[in-house]
Symmetry: C2
Subunit: 262 residues, 2 copies
DNA sequence: GAGTGGTCTAGACCACGCA
DNA sequence: GCGTGGTCTAGACCACTCT
């Protein structure tokens, strides 16, 4: 299960017979079989073995191929489905989750009307430039001095009114030539997946209140000193790399940031 | 599985033999067996069949008692563990999750230092009073005109400095006599569970930026017009009732609201 | 009807905690 | 050593989709 390629037979962690059962039981490095299958599949997806939206082999086929039982494959696939990496459809098959625009927005775009009704943003003005990474970029994105980044600044509208002012920084090495792809789509994570094979699976956000500065005032049509909500996000790809830093500044007179805990 | 009490044998949804297999297959109302076990256990917990921290019967015992296989019970228990309602410990058993102070704070208290380091609040001044529900309470908590609520206003400190100013409203009928229990613990949800049998499982929060008003300025030692983060929370109990409305106002110079999406 | 995932069962063995 | 949950397997049947 740890062999690199896509082997018809493979060596298991806990070696031997056909399960993790052979007396030895080297407790420390123990990793259950279904976990190994899970990691194998994550690796395959990271390496682009299947395209988004494409179907995987059936449970039976995978089980045969990997030499484990169908139940074990199922447990791995179920976990992947829970994490939103795959999508299972009874009667049809298991598919690599396509980060469609809507899907991606639903997951990571948390602005709503007060009361809970979700809204979807439209694209506004945007500026894209390539530049050297500064200290902040280096620390957050794990870069080295001298590395290049691409910085995107854009407005996002709701019902034609500016609602959000974003600054987005990504490593140029991870998204080659992205600075020449304007106009960028509303849901960037969709583009990251389809054009760069980068699956954003989680995002860490830190929120604070601030006062409108000159930029905010101009872009969001606010007066100086009006309250703005600042959302500072680090987006993590399937392979664990932090591949985007985003700071959004938001007028919360008409919208709120909505989240469910628990 | 749908019978109310705690039956040694019970009637199944999809009736008949011993699984959901008897030709009829009335597709519409289909609910898998493990789901029925799940709902049965939720009902038991809601009704206080076991105390927080107490162990449930073993998988085998439950399976025997309910007349299903161990695997089916396991699937229900695993789901309950994922939702944090139960806690499973290999070699020991399955326990009703005890909403300890730390646990409850960890789950619902989202303030951190910028960068991610978690903090824990201390109790500050508090005022508790019983009053008639107003329109806002009625709408949010699903009450009727004339119902009573208990309102708690309190400060919470971090490192001795005021960080949070909270207004908490709960239905008096759900938490009888809570107004006479001062001083209230830091983690209220722990008290709700141990003294009232109310398990808070999820919370919906809406965040916005605002400017410090007179109250904020006084309690949080801010100047008027300083930015504050407002967190508007509805807390939902295991049985689906909204049992608390809480508005927190927060000074985010030293703290941020941290959340992970995905 | 064939093929897929979804549910359910039964039984074996492993890892863990405790007496 | 016993009892608990955790993993793994094998096989049956159900529900869904497409042809």
């Amino acid at each position: 299960m740890d062999s690199p390629a896509r082997p018809p037979y493979y060596a298991r962690d806990n070696q031997g017979g056909s399960k993790a059962r052979d007396g030895v039981s080297a407790t420390p490095g123990f990793r259950p079989l279904y976990r190994q299958v899970y990691e194998y599949l994550v690796r395959q997806v990271s390496e682009g073995a299947w395209r988004p939206g494409e179907a995987l082999p059936s449970e039976q086929a995978l089980a045969r191929e990997l030499g484990v039982s169908q139940g074990t494959v199922r447990k791995a696939l179920d976990a992947l489905a829970v994490e939103g990496i795959m999508e299972r459809r009874q009667g049809k098959g298991t598919f690599i989750a396509a980060n469609t625009q809507e899907r991606s927005l639903f997951k990571f775009f948390r602005l709503s009307r007060p009361g809970g009704e979700r809204v979807t943003p439209q694209r506004g003005e945007e500026q894209v430039r390539r530049r050297a990474a500064n200290q902040g970029d280096i620390a957050r994105l794990g870069l080295s001095k001298g590395d290049k980044v691409v910085e995107i600044r854009r407005i996002r509208l709701v019902d034609g009114e500016p609602a959000l002012f974003e600054m987005i920084v990504v490593p140029a090495a991870v998204f080659p030539d992205i600075e020449n792809r304007a106009p960028l789509p509303n849901a960037l994570y969709s583009l990251y997946q389809s054009d760069y094979g980068i699956n954003i699976t989680t995002a860490h956000e830190e929120l604070k209140a601030d006062l409108a500065r000159k930029d905010d005032a101009a872009y969001l049509k606010l007066s100086l000193g009006a309250p703005v909500l600042q959302i500072d996000r680090l987006a993590v790809a399937l392979d664990g790399r932090v591949v985007e830093w985003r700071v959004s500044r938001c007028d919360t007179r008409n919208f709120v940031y909505a989240v469910t805990l628990g």
